[in-house]
Each structure stands twice: as structure tokens, then as C-alpha cells.
């Protein structure tokens, strides 16, 4: 069913520096294909850096770091096309219109303008907004447009940094739906969030990050989240 049994994300004592500060101070993490994993932890714990490192944007200076089968320490740009990152910033050109932005980012990643348009509709961005310059949009709308650009590239690995932030209730439902849908088609989701009750309902597994290391990985211990049919909550089982 899945080509390789190798986990989508495989980190062993990974260290990543922001300038000279060890934002990641030895991270051990495995994420299987099709999993939706929640990253929890205080501000400055290293969640954002962990997501950016998995996207190959931050060099991992020591330890093992393999994402989607390619070694990040050796060449961290190979993985980028197969990854979708939503950061705090929305990566949009203020003076261009919504459709022009999504169209540019879709075609830049090899998708078509139609994919972009479909992604915008999926994110519930009203078509009357499509021709407005992005700078006239509200923060929530901007995040939806940014998410649409990520959706349009159909990434194999979704890396979302607080996807719910700034969205209204409807928007958050759309995001939850997106994550579940991505997992169902075999993509993998790693997202950081502080909306705990909502996030834990979607996530198959929760990982607590603190001080640049993984402090609690509940796949290793019992956790009260509802039994997820496709995934047993025992030790990190290697049979699937």
C-alpha cells in the first residue's frame, strides 16, 4: 500500500541553529505516512523551527534528519517541492490580487491556475474577493489565501504553524477538514497549535516540544484521545 516503510519524518538527536542559538537541541521524532501529529508546547519551545527544519529551510547541523526519504543534512532543498509550509507570515504580495497571488504560487510549484482557483473555493474565499489586492484583506482572509496556495500544490507533507490562528469558527472547521482529508489521501500532517481541544480531536497523536527537544511523545504512552480506527495507540508499532 505505501511504497516505503520508512517514516515520512525521521529525526534522531537533530540540532538546528537560528544564528548561534540551538533552537532544536537534539530532537527525536518519527512521523508515519498518513498521520496527523499535533505539536504542543510553550512559545519559544522550537515548534516553528522544527516545522521549518522539516521543510528544509533551516539547516540541521548535527544528528539524523530524513524527510520523505531524502537526507536533510546532505541536501535540504530536495524535499521542498513535496512539502507545504504555512508559517506565521502568509507569503503573499500585497499589491497583487488574491487570484494573481494564488495563481503565481500554484504555477511556481508546478500546479495549474485551475488548482489555485479550486483551492481558493475549498478555503471558502468568496469569489468577489479574488480580484481585490491582498493588502485590503483581513488577517483571517489572508491566512485562507495562504492556505489555498499550500493546498494548490498538493503537498505530501503538510507543515502548519498554528493553522487555526486568526480564523473564525467556520475557517477552523475548514482547516480541520483539510487536515483530515490530507491524511485520508495518504499525505502526512505535522501542525503546531494552541487550540488544544480542537487540535486533539483531529490529531492522531500529540507531541510536546519544550526547550528544543521532544519532551512527551504520547505515542509512547497511553493518551485519552478517542480510539482512532486506522491507528492503534500502542507503542510505536512497526507493523503498519
Amino acid at each position: 500500500m505505501r511504497p516505503t516503510l520508512e517514516p515520512v519524518i525521521h529525526l534522531r538527536s537533530a540540532v538546528a541553529l537560528i544564528g548561534r542559538f540551538p533552537a532544536l537541541a537534539g530532537v527525536d521524532l518519527d512521523v508515519e505516512s498518513g498521520e496527523v501529529v499535533l505539536l504542543r508546547g510553550p512559545n519559544g519551545a522550537g515548534k516553528t523551527t522544527l516545522l521549518r527544519a522539516c521543510a528544509g529551510l533551516v539547516p540541521v547541523v548535527s544528528g539524523v534528519a530524513r524527510v520523505l526519504g531524502s537526507d536533510l543534512v546532505a541536501d535540504r532543498s530536495a524535499v521542498r517541492r513535496r512539502v507545504g509550509l504555512l508559517g506565521h507570515a502568509t507569503h503573499l504580495y500585497d499589491d497583487l490580487s488574491v487570484s494573481e497571488n494564488v495563481d503565481f504560487w500554484s504555477r511556481a510549484s508546478g500546479a495549474t491556475s485551475a488548482d489555485g482557483r479550486a483551492a481558493l473555493d475549498r478555503l471558502g474565499v468568496a469569489s468577489r474577493l479574488h480580484e481585490l489586492p491582498v493588502r485590503s484583506l483581513s488577517a483571517g482572509q489572508r491566512r485562507r489565501v495562504s492556505l489555498a496556495s499550500v493546498l494548490a500544490r498538493r503537498p505530501e507533507l503538510w507543515l502548519l504553524d498554528e493553522p487555526h490562528a486568526g480564523l473564525d469558527a467556520a475557517g477552523r472547521d475548514v482547516v480541520d477538514g483539510l487536515m483530515a482529508e490530507a491524511a485520508s489521501v495518504g499525505a502526512t500532517v505535522l501542525f503546531a497549535s494552541h487550540e488544544l481541544e480542537r487540535a486533539e480531536s483531529v490529531a492522531h497523536r500529540t507531541v510536546v516540544v519544550a526547550g528544543g527537544v521532544i519532551q512527551v511523545d504520547d505515542s509512547a504512552l497511553e493518551h485519552g484521545i478517542p480510539e482512532n480506527p486506522s491507528r492503534s495507540d500502542t507503542e510505536v508499532s512497526d507493523e503498519d
Binding site: S77, R80, T90, D95, A108
Partner: protein, 230 residues
């Protein structure tokens, strides 16, 4: 899914150039800020140098190209300032666009804007400084090759300083000394074209061409590490 190799780079460049030019059409920074700035400096030179006597006329080619260089610095700052905001640089690194493609796209967009500015400026200089334009072919040769060099060197340094906080003041310090030979060659070439200097004009175009070719190639090669780590 994505075309690789040279066709991929050209396709990427076209996409990026299209985006940049659409950005310019939308924001009109070039039209509403850079061009008026250029015309303003042309006037200031006239105030500084007494317009009646020969001095202004003799210095026209040099003044013209000085204004082009300053305007180019503003155009490069605008072109890469746009990429610096909202972490767009990260999205560029994550996109499938090849670094040389992005570079050549930025340079192409810069060239289009610079050529337009140079054309309007030439008319302004003809009107304000009363210079009669002659040697059109040589003039076109000088202007085109000079613009290639300015845009290529500008694009390279634009990418280099994109993430640096003090980039607006750093860019002129890095770019203008590098463009010294362009200023010399373009000015001398223009003087020959306007019939003010008997010497040969085309060797200057040759030197400008070499400068342009060197910095287009070097910029394309350097843009990947610059986008990655600069």
C-alpha cells in the same frame, strides 16, 4: 509536472518577470516614484551647473547615466523589497522555481523598467538640455548593453542584501562601485554617439556587452547559494 533544464529556467524566468511587471503595473512605484525622481535629478543638475554655458551641455552624457544608475538602485531596492516582505523569500525557496530562473526573471523585469525609464529620460534630456540626438544605432547599442549589465549586477546584489536589515543603505555602497566601468563606458559611448568625441564608439559597446554577459552568468550561478543562505 515541472519542466526541468533550460526550458524550466526560461519558464520560471517568464513567470517571475510576469509577476514583477504585474506588480509594477499594480503598484506603479516605478512610474509614480522612480521616474519622477529621475526627472527631478535632471533638473537639479541644471540648477547645480549653470544651464546657459557649455558646462551642462558637455556633461550631459555623464549626467544622464548618473541618473540612470541612481534610478537603477531605487528600482532594485523596490524589486527585492517586495520579496523581503511577508517572508516571501521562504515561499520562493519552497516553490519549485529554480534559482537562476528567479534571477533571470527579476533581471528581465528590471531591464524592461530601466529601458522604459531611459527612453523617457532621453527625451527629457533632449528637451531640458537641448541636446540633439544623433548616432541612434550606437546609442541603442550602448543603452541596451549597459542596461543588461546594470540589471544583472543589480539583481545579484539585490538577492544578496534581500534579508539584511540595513539593505537600503548597503545596496548603493555595494552596487555603484561595481558599476563604475558601466558608467565610464556608457558615458563615453554616448559621447561618441552624440558626435562629441571623435574616438571609436563600438569598443565601448563591446566592453559593456562583456560586463553584462559576465554578471548575467555569475549572477545566475550565485543566485542559488544567495537565495539559500544569504
Amino acid at each position: 509536472m515541472r519542466t526541468e533544464g533550460v526550458r524550466g529556467v526560461v519558464a520560471d524566468a517568464a513567470l517571475v518577470a510576469g509577476k514583477d511587471l504585474r506588480l509594477e503595473r499594480r503598484s506603479k512605484v516605478g512610474l509614480s516614484q522612480v521616474l519622477p525622481f529621475a526627472l527631478l535629478v535632471i533638473l537639479l543638475f541644471a540648477f547645480a551647473l549653470d544651464p546657459d554655458r557649455r558646462v551642462l551641455g558637455a556633461a550631459t552624457p555623464g549626467l544622464y547615466w548618473m541618473v540612470v544608475l541612481f534610478s537603477a538602485v531605487l528600482a532594485v531596492q523596490r524589486s527585492f523589497g517586495v520579496e523581503g516582505e511577508d517572508d516571501v523569500l521562504d515561499a520562493l525557496r519552497l516553490s519549485g522555481l529554480s534559482a537562476p530562473g528567479i534571477f533571470l526573471g527579476k533581471v528581465a523585469a528590471l531591464m524592461v523598467q530601466l529601458l522604459a525609464l531611459e527612453f523617457v529620460l532621453a527625451i527629457a534630456v533632449a528637451v531640458f538640455y537641448g541636446t540633439e540626438i544623433s548616432g541612434i544605432l550606437l546609442l541603442a547599442g550602448v543603452t541596451t548593453t549597459a542596461t543588461v549589465g546594470i540589471a544583472a549586477a543589480g539583481g545579484t546584489y539585490g538577492g544578496l542584501v534581500a534579508r539584511i536589515r540595513g539593505r537600503d543603505t548597503l545596496l548603493p555602497l555595494l552596487l555603484l562601485p561595481l558599476l563604475a566601468p558601466v558608467l565610464i563606458s556608457a558615458t563615453r559611448g554616448t559621447e561618441v554617439a552624440l558626435g562629441r568625441d571623435a574616438g571609436p564608439g563600438w569598443p565601448w559597446v563591446g566592453l559593456l556587452g562583456i560586463f553584462g554577459a559576465v554578471y548575467l552568468t555569475l549572477g545566475a550561478l550565485l543566485f542559488r547559494p544567495l537565495l539559500e543562505d544569504a
